[in-house]
Amino acid sequence: MTAQSAGLALAIALMLAGAIGAVLLKEVMRVMIALGAFLFGVAAMYAYLGYSFLAIAQVFVYVGGVLVLMVFAVMTARRADGERPAIVSRHDVGSAAVAAGVGAMLFLSLRTAFGDTSVPVSRSASDLASELLGPRLVAFEAAGVFLLAALVAVAVILKGGEER
């Protein structure tokens, strides 16, 4: 086994363990950690496949952004009886069915949409940058303006809340 495939196997094991933990654990903060392990595993997988820029972006956006936001929400949420929040689901079978359905849908759509088109994707950050700022400039800028509009909207909504 080469170092790359061994690393990939480790990354996938981490992802699986994290995903299973995120579903089965009861205490919310442990669920968050399991989710963090999963997200970090995805980053490790990208790294071992050679997409280092994508791996760093994964850590930046998902571990440093999304996960921190969720942990923040957990820490500031208080139950009225002073107990720590825990996850109790009464719909295990239904949730599993929905998850399986979404998974199947994603799998099928990805297979049919990209099944026989092999898009050459460069692994280097500079090629990615020239692609984003060259042929895909309009889409890139549109996404940027959209995100900026969302940020400004959040600021306006927050300010409105303060005045009230």
Partner: protein
């Protein structure tokens, strides 16, 4: 598998360097603080009290490791390690000499900026695991401050990347010219200030404001686990200073080879001293001042510096 073993070996080297540097850093901080505040500091053991660090380490190792009965035990026990790991990982991408870093990757600069975000999660988890209101508040303060100051920090490094045309730290060192220092003086200042805030050091040490929060997000930790938090703090000072010395101040310039590595370490040590000097000189600021300063002063200033570099770049 050799690359795996080599990676593990460099990992061990990085951890040893950071841990050793942290022990020296604690001693040096006490000396600097003593000089600034007219106190004694360590002076009894060895020349200038330098052997004090040898006494401190066993003391911390043998102290009782108290786990509060109400704490979430596994999270409480392992969170400090996850706080320390990203700090030790950050040293891997620092270019110690022209063309050499432990882990010379094409996205090294991003790697250096991204790893503290793992530390944020670990600090929040550690704060939560103690089941203590003071530490939870300290953790929330630390996280909000670290997330906010990540923005000016990343923006302050962006002009370097623009000038060098690469995200590889060794390319930054190779492309460095002396006139980068005046051109990027503002970026360097922003990098230093936002890094001090990112490390939760004074005057931005509100997460551990002892008058209100006891010791902040690690209030209930003791012995070696507490020492790991300290190691993470001093490790962050060292990696931050090394990175600044290597990229903003031209690494080993004006020397090459072994002498260049010495020059880099001297520059980094000067920056470490500056960071400590700042802590012991300036009073702590308030949380709202801290966040307002970030968003209304540092971020716009960093954007101005980025624009300046963008404008002059075609003529260089």
């Amino acid at each position: 598998m050799t690359s795996f073993l080599l990676g593990a070996l460099w990992g061990v080297v990085g951890v040893v360097v950071i841990a050793g540097g942290a022990v020296i850093g604690v001693w040096w901080e006490r000396k600097v603080a003593g000089r600034i505040q007219l106190r004694y500091g360590p002076q009894q053991i060895g020349p200038a009290g330098s052997l004090q660090m040898l006494a401190d380490v066993p003391k911390l190792l043998f102290k009782e490791d108290v786990v509060p009965s109400g704490a979430d035990k596994p999270l409480f026990k392992y969170a400090p390690l996850v706080v320390f790991a990203p700090v030790a990982a950050a040293i891997a991408v620092i270019p110690f000499a022209k063309g050499w870093a432990m882990f010379d990757t094409a996205v090294g600069v991003l790697f250096f900026l991204a790893v503290p975000s793992i530390e944020v999660v670990a600090i929040l988890v550690a704060a939560w695991a103690q089941r203590n209101t003071y530490s939870a508040l300290g953790g929330l303060r630390a996280a909000s401050q670290m997330i906010a100051y990540e923005v000016p920090r990343a923006l302050s490094v962006a002009p370097l990347v623009l000038l060098a045309g690469s995200l590889r730290p060794t390319d930054l060192v190779a492309a460095w010219r002396w006139w980068w220092v005046p051109l990027l003086a503002l970026a360097f200042l922003i990098y230093l200030i936002s890094s001090i805030a990112e490390m939760n050091r004074g005057p931005f040490d509100l997460p551990e404001a002892e008058s209100e929060l006891v010791a902040g997000y690690f209030a209930d930790y003791s012995g070696m686990r507490w020492a790991i938090f300290m190691m993470a703090e001093y490790g962050a000072i060292i990696t931050t200073s090394l990175f600044a010395a290597a990229t903003f101040l031209g690494a080993g310039w004006p020397f090459d080879g072994a002498l260049g590595v010495v020059a880099l370490i001297v520059k980094a040590a000067a920056l470490v001293t500056l960071v400590m000097w700042t802590k012991w000189t300036l009073p702590r600021i308030r949380q709202d001042q801290l966040l307002r300063f970030c968003w209304t002063v540092l971020v716009p200033a960093a954007l101005v510096q980025l624009a300046i570099v963008g404008v002059v770049l075609p003529w260089l």
